[in-house]
């Protein structure tokens, strides 16, 4: 390890803790931290120091409604969340772990279910071929099959991405316009990414959701997408190099032609 470079990184840790580094240095330090336990330990101390700067702001009392809204929402979400959290793995670690991914994704059950479903559909197809009244039903089922197939192929792609060393994953949470929305973005070392979202409200006519990679202060535009009626969305995209190491991922609702900087409501964010 180049000790000159290491001490340079060490000198930037305090500013890193203040999130004050410019994009290039930010990426360099973030990359260094992945492999340097000394610097990670040192960073904790700087973050503790930085956190104390919160006391430099005057304390202010929020409205009492905030507390009651939080507790109401928590009451509603609590039971469901506990079930979800028990089912899935924690978000922080980015190590590829096939076993963890398999445990995490209940879609393997969906895979088994959908194979059985496909077999059933084939049987039904033969019986219904003659009956024109059931053609509508056929169309509906084939949509469902397509949806499940798409879900399976996205799940497979997600697993393929996560199994590569150096792959990253981030979780996005819904904002208060869509508190039930969730998304995961996973990308491999080339930046090839996949976004899986659930709980998104439908995009109005003329509008679409847009993915953003926010580096430092700059939002870089990603692709546009519309969710299915189920509220799910699947998207392939490419994470720009600048955003690879340290970015906030966000989704806003925009005109469907897309925009260069976010203008619409924020629906999902990986911040924090």
């Amino acid at each position: 390890m180049n000790s000159t470079a290491h001490s340079e990184y060490r000198e930037m840790l305090a500013s890193y803790a203040l999130t004050a580094l410019d994009a290039r240095e930010l990426r360099a330090v973030a990359a260094h931290l992945e492999s340097c336990t000394d610097c990670r330990a040192e960073l904790v101390q700087w973050q503790e120091t930085a956190g104390l700067l919160a006391f430099a702001a005057q304390p202010v009392e929020p409205s009492p409604e905030v507390r009651s809204h939080i507790l109401q929402e928590v009451n509603r979400a609590g039971a469901k969340e506990r079930r979800m959290d028990q089912a899935g793995p924690k978000v922080t670690a980015m190590r590829p772990a096939r076993k963890t991914v398999l445990q995490a994704w209940p879609s393997w059950q969906a895979l088994a279910a959908s194979l059985a479903f496909l077999a059933l559909c084939l049987t039904l197809l033969i019986q219904w071929r003659e009956n024109s009244r059931n053609r509508q039903e056929l169309a509906r089922l084939s949509n469902q099959i397509q949806h499940t197939n798409r879900q399976i192929s996205y799940d497979r792609e997600l697993i393929a991405i996560l199994s590569l060393p150096g792959s990253r994953r981030a979780q996005l949470s819904g904002t208060d316009v869509a508190p039930g929305a969730r998304a995961t973005i996973a990308y491999d070392p080339t930046g090839r990414a996949i976004l899986l979202a659930t709980g998104l409200p439908p995009a109005a006519t003329g509008k679409a959701y847009q993915l953003w990679f926010i580096v430092g202060k700059q939002p870089l535009p990603g692709k546009l997408f519309k969710p299915l009626a189920s509220g799910e969305a699947f998207l392939n995209d490419q994470v720009p190099a600048a955003a690879f190491d340290a970015a906030v991922f966000a989704v806003t609702l925009e005109p469907e032609s897309g925009v260069r900087v976010p203008t619409g409501e924020l629906y999902l964010s990986s911040a924090g």
């Binding site: 803790a17 101390q45 006391f55 005057q58």
Partner: protein, 194 residues
């Protein structure tokens, strides 16, 4: 707040929240709302935006308390870092939509608490502000522009019309001094439970 409640460590509260204890979340809110909301209103300059973020923050804490790893810092730092991060992201989004809300400064002054009711926090506030007062004005300015206004070093250099190298030096020396001054009384050790 009942005296017994004040004895429960932040770590224990977070663990309870992770286990689905809503009362623990309420207690955490009561304990830190003044500091957190103060930080949010300072960063966002808008009471309404700050209340949105405060609410989102605690919902996130509810969902992600299980992620908190007490080997990587104190719960307070985790809370404050999350809060600041969300606030700065909100600030960027507002700025890019050209809707910076500036007018709320007055209503904040009118509703500022004239007493931090929790003596522990009053004490910590005094310690931190006394330490900040011991930095040079340049060091303090740079640290607060970074922390409370979410500026990068280049942005600070542009704002102050100072060379980037100078800003970097002031930031680093300011943080080193602050860490020394705050060292023993607020030092994080991995075995720390509070």
């Amino acid at each position: 707040m009942h005296p017994e409640q004040a004895q429960i460590s932040d770590s224990s509260l977070l663990k309870a929240v992770a286990a689905g204890d809503e009362a623990a979340l309420a207690l955490l809110y009561d304990r830190y709302r003044l500091i957190l909301f103060g930080l949010l209103t300072r960063i966002l300059n808008s009471r309404a935006e700050a209340e949105d973020v405060l609410q989102e923050l605690f919902l996130q804490v509810w969902r992600r308390a299980c992620d908190f790893d007490d080997r990587r810092g104190r719960p307070f730092t985790w809370l404050v870092t999350l809060a600041r991060s969300r606030a700065i992201d909100r600030l960027r989004l507002l700025a890019s939509r050209d809707r910076l809300v500036v007018s709320a400064a007055q209503d904040i002054r009118e509703t500022t608490s004239d007493a931090v009711t929790d003596t522990l926090h009053a004490e910590q506030m005094e310690i931190v502000n006394r330490a900040l007062a011991k930095l040079t004005e340049e060091q303090r300015e740079v640290l607060l522009l970074a922390y409370l206004d979410g500026m990068t070093q280049s942005e600070i250099a542009a704002k102050l019309n100072a060379p980037l190298g100078t800003v970097k030096t002031r930031m680093r020396s300011g943080m080193i001094k602050l860490r020394e001054l705050l060292g023993e009384s607020l030092k994080f050790r991995s075995s720390h439970s509070g």
